[in-house]
Each structure stands twice: as C-alpha cells, then as structure tokens.
C-alpha cells in the first residue's frame, strides 16, 4: 500500500510552516509498505496534526493525502471506516481508551471488528507488556503507562498495511518501551506492513529506513 503526500499544508499552521524548512510540509513524498519511516518533530511543529490528517481525522489542510492513489478527501465515511478497520492502524498520543470499559473490553471492541487475532494472543501480549493483571480494570482507573500499553496492543488487533504512531512510548520507561517496540515490530513484520512513527527526539525503537524532519 502506497502513501502519497503532495503539497500538504495544515491550514492552522500555514504561516508557521512558510517561515521554516520542512521535510514533509509542502513537498511531495511517496512511501511504500513495508517501509519504516521516522518523523522527527519538535514540539509545536504539527506532529499530531500530521498523524491525524493521515488517519482521516482532520480535513483542514491543503494539498493531497492519498492511500493507494485514492485521495483521503474523496473517501466517504464508509470507505474511511473500511480503511481503518483493515488497512491502517494507529496509536494515538492521547491513547483514547473508553474510560467506562475494562482493559479487556477496550481490546475486545477492536478485536471483534476483524476477528483476526485470537483472545489467547491478546492474553499473551498483555502478559508480555506487563498488563496481564489489568484485564478487568476500567480504562479510567489505569495509569498513563498502562493505558499506553493497552492502546499499543489495541492497535495490533487488526490486519493492517501501515501503522501510524504518535509518540507511542511517551509514558513508558526504557524497559517497557523495548518490550512494546519488539511486540509492535513482530506484528508489523507478520503483516508485512509499513510503519510511520512521529516523535520528539531521535530514537532507535525501530530499524528506520527513512528519517524526515517536520
């Protein structure tokens, strides 16, 4: 699956962007899965805006974002839902769990959509990331670190050709980050998918093939 970005400028950041050079804004880029891309983005440069625009949550930009040459702005709600359910996964910076559901239900709500990962695998992955004992804890009672690990597992419970990550390890210590990154890499490879990670600082969570500055 190919990602094409052409002359992309988010409208709220227009003036800020024109004042400085960027490897992404207002250029033309083509990424082909299974590429591993790292986007280094200091605070306030539009990292979350980029991820949200790529994922179809924002439409306030000029230029084009196209998945397999179909522009995001030409897709209707059903097509976007289909893209998210079976081709494009995401780990949000703000985790976005349902506070009224347990950790298990938060995962089940995603898993049951495509039914491609077994319940047993979820249990194993929770154990691997150290949240095996949090199955029945409500989303609202989990710590940020626990929420982030649940959000990471949730992103892996669907078939995908690209996974977008917005500071996915911001609440995790080094050891947990390594565990989570290893799990992500394993599932990305299994799906033969591409990954695109946006973060503040340089890192070596994944074997990136391209690094771009926002």
């Amino acid at each position: 699956m190919q990602l094409t970005i052409q002359s992309l400028i988010p409208l709220p950041l227009r003036e800020k962007i024109s004042a400085r050079r960027s490897g992404i804004w207002n250029t033309e880029l083509h990424f082909q899965a299974p590429e591993y891309i790292f986007i280094q983005a200091p605070s306030g440069t539009g990292k979350t805006t980029l991820i949200h625009s790529l994922y179809g949550l924002r439409k306030d930009f000029s230029g084009t974002i196209a998945w397999d040459e179909v522009s995001m702005s030409n897709k209707n709600a059903e097509q976007i839902a289909d893209l998210r359910a079976s081709n494009l996964s995401v780990i949000f910076q703000d985790m976005r769990l349902f506070p009224e559901l347990s950790a298990w239900e938060n995962l089940e709500v995603k898993r049951s959509l495509s039914n491609t990962v077994s319940e047993q695998e979820i249990t194993e992955w929770m154990e691997r990331l150290g949240v095996g004992d949090k199955k029945n804890a409500l989303g609202s009672t989990l710590s940020y670190g626990e929420q982030q690990r649940i959000a990471i597992i949730r992103a892996l419970l669907q078939p995908f050709q690209w996974i977008l990550m917005d500071e996915p390890f911001s609440h995790l210590d080094k050891k947990n980050t390594e565990l989570a990154a290893a799990l992500i890499l394993e599932v990305v490879q299994r799906n033969n998918a591409g990954l695109l990670l946006a973060d503040l600082d340089e890192n070596a969570f994944f074997p990136y093939q391209k690094t771009l500055f926002l």
Binding site: D82, R84, L113
Partner: protein
C-alpha cells in the same frame, strides 16, 4: 460468541441512558400517539362504512334522494306541471354533488290491489313504480319479471307498512302485520280497466328504506304501459339521484332555485353526517398532532441517548466502526421498541373495534368485527414514517 461480546460492549457504550423510566415514558408517549391515531382513523373509516355502505341494514347513509318538481299554488291547476322534461333531467345530471340519476317510471294505468280471505278483506286502488336496479337498496333473487309470468314481485316502502301498523290498522280495527306476514300474503293486482283488464298475483319480496313507493321490476312497468295505457310515452315526474353530500350548500341552492323538491328527511340525516364528519375530522387532526408529539418524544429520547454517547460514537468510528454498522446496531435496538408501541396500539384498536361492532349490531348496524383496510394502512404508514424518522435521527447523530 465474539459477536455477542461486541454487542454487549456496544450496548454499554451507546445505550447508557441509565434511567429506564425515561425510555418507558418515551414508549408510553409513542404508544398513546399511535393508539389515538389508529382509533381515530378507525372512527373515521367506521363512519364512512356506515354512511356510504350498501349493506342491507344500512339506514344511516342513504345518499339517494328522490327529486320531483314542487307543487305550488300556481302550478296546482296544471296536471302536467310536475312532469320533468329532458332538459330538467339534463340539468339535474349536471348539478353539483350529483353522481348518478335514474328515472322512476310510473305505471300510467289503473291498478287495484285486492286481498280476499277471512278477516282481511281488502281492496284498494294503487300505484306502481319502477326504479333502475342500480338504485335499489334491496334486490331479492326473485326480482325479475317477463311477459307471461303471472306473479309480480313487489318491494314496498317500509314507511307504508309502518303507517299501516301504527296509524291505519289501530284506527280501523285491522290486524297488525309483521314484515314476514306481509311477505307471506299474496295479493291480486288488477290492471287496466274495461276490455284491457288483467289480473296478476303479486308477492311482496322486501321493504325499502330508500324509495317511498310501491316498486315492481322495470320490465313489468314497460309491459303494462304498452298493454294497458296505450303505449304512449311514459311521463317522468320523479327521479332518483345519487348525491355525494346532499347537505352541500351549492346542491341545496340548486334545488331551491329550480323549484325541485326532495325527500327532506335524507337531508337531515346528511346534516348529521356533516357534523359527524366534522367531529371525526377534528379528532383526526388532534390524533395526528398527538402522534406527532409521541413520535417527537421518542425521537428526542433517541437523540438524547446518542448525544450522551457522542464521545463513544466518535471513538468507535476512529477505531474503524462504520456508520452503517453502528446505525444497524442502533436501529435494531429502537425499531422493536417502536414496533411494540405500534402493536399495542393496533391491539387496542382491534379491541375497540370488536366491542363497537357488537354494540352496533344491537343498533341494527352491521360492521365487521376487525378494523378495515384503512386502519391497517394507517398502521403501516405510521410504522414506515416512524422508521424513517428513527433512521434519520440515528444517521444525524452518527454524522455529528
């Protein structure tokens, strides 16, 4: 298995309006609205059935009138002043509300009826008339006559029998006659006078509420006028007409302007009908209004529930749940609730109709025990409108 877990989770996320009393009130509002609508549609259609029906016991809804020219002080002297010309007939055909016109053909020859046995020794001069079959409210199977037949079927105005039983018989010391006993009696009819005289047997076959006359089949009148009255053109002086609304002002004014007289009793009935129609119309408007409010309350309840779950709706869509999938889930939840309200309303309508029909039978008015098609169509239509409104409300909530 995983489908049912998913449904449970969606229920938790989207239908978390914890106050079930609110759902109950919304349901009751919808139920009352639907019930009032269906019952008032039924009242309206029952009246229609009674007013326009052709059943034999229908006595409310005669929209048939007999029309003749008024006899005034001035026209008294002229025997022909009551005759209706071809122009008169054409004019009446064009009159407002008139749907059909038929000629009441009179016998232009002398007729005498006699009954000669025991206590009932009876002789009277009589008149005969024939009406086109499509205007008859009673059509016994024996209602036919052809040349050579010796027995003539007769349909008598019920008014005549009533007058005999309540006024004439008591004053003359004659026995009372039930309808069946009159039907059992055989009269002798003597037609014509002088050389061209003939006797026929006559049998009363039924009683009419619609036409105040002594009716025989058209074929007999035609034969009689040819044989006993010299075959001249029969003069028309009475018409029977079918009218939409006889109390209609334009129609009443037309009659007055042209000096036509009708059986005014029917007009009185139809004034009553106009009142009944106005009342059932007003009930209908009120019912539609209440149905609208009921539907609004229910739809607002759905919107409120979904507004409370708006964050969940958004996040579910971000996770890849399609609007169609969510809409299907929500529709599957609310449609049975809506349908149950409609079914309760229908049951109430059926029960009301059943008891009304039984009550009506005691008043000699026959209506079917089950609601008629109009009610079912109304139920179907309200179901479809509600379905559309619910789907629309869900769609709107999912798009926000």
């Amino acid at each position: 298995m995983s489908q049912s877990i998913q449904l449970n989770i969606l229920k938790k996320l989207l239908l978390r309006n914890k106050k079930s009393s609110r759902l109950l009130s919304a349901w009751i509002a919808l139920c009352i609205g639907c019930t009032l609508l269906l019952v008032s549609v039924m009242i309206w259609s029952t009246f229609r059935e009674l007013l326009h029906g052709r059943s034999s016991s229908d006595s409310l809804g005669s929209t048939f009138l007999t029309v003749s020219k008024s006899v005034t002080d001035e026209s008294m002297a002229d025997k022909k002043s009551t005759q209706l010309s071809a122009q008169d007939i054409a004019l009446i055909k064009q009159a407002p509300q008139v749907q059909d016109v038929g000629i009441l053909s009179p016998a232009n020859f002398k007729v005498a009826a006699s009954l000669g046995s025991g206590q009932l020794n009876f002789y009277t001069l009589l008149f005969l008339e024939a009406a086109p079959n499509r205007f008859m409210d009673k059509m016994p199977e024996s209602w036919k006559w052809k040349e050579g037949d010796n027995t003539i079927p007769i349909i008598l105005s019920r008014d005549f029998l009533n007058m005999y039983n309540y006024i004439f018989a008591p004053s003359q010391g004659l026995p009372l006659l039930s309808e069946n006993s009159v039907k059992a009696l055989g009269f002798t009819l003597t037609m014509g006078d002088g050389q061209q005289q003939a006797n026929f047997r006559a049998q009363v076959e039924g009683f009419s509420d619609r036409i105040s006359s002594v009716l025989v089949p058209q074929s007999f009148i035609d034969y009689g006028n040819k044989t006993f009255a010299g075959g001249g053109t029969a003069q028309v002086s009475r018409l029977i007409i079918k009218v939409g609304d006889p109390s209609n002002n334009a129609f009443v004014q037309f009659l007055e302007k042209n000096h036509y007289a009708t059986n005014a009793e029917q007009l009185r009935f139809n004034k009553m009908r106009a009142i009944v129609e106005a009342v059932s119309g007003a009930t209908g408007i009120l019912a539609i209004l209440l149905m609208g409010i009921g539907a609004l309350v229910f739809v607002l309840f759905i919107e409120l529930t979904l507004a409370q779950a708006q964050d969940s709706v958004k996040l579910l869509q971000q996770l890849g749940y399609s609007p169609q999938k969510l809409s299907r889930f929500l529709t599957a939840r609310y449609i049975p609730i809506m349908l149950s309200a409609l079914i309760v309303a229908l049951i109430v309508a059926i029960v009301v109709r059943y008891f009304t029909a039984i009550k009506m039978t005691t008043l000699q008015l026959n209506i079917s025990l089950l609601p008629d098609t109009t009610v079912w169509i109304a139920a179907l239509l309200s179901g479809l409108i509600l379905l559309f409104q619910i789907k629309h409300a869900i769609k709107r909530a999912l798009q926000q």
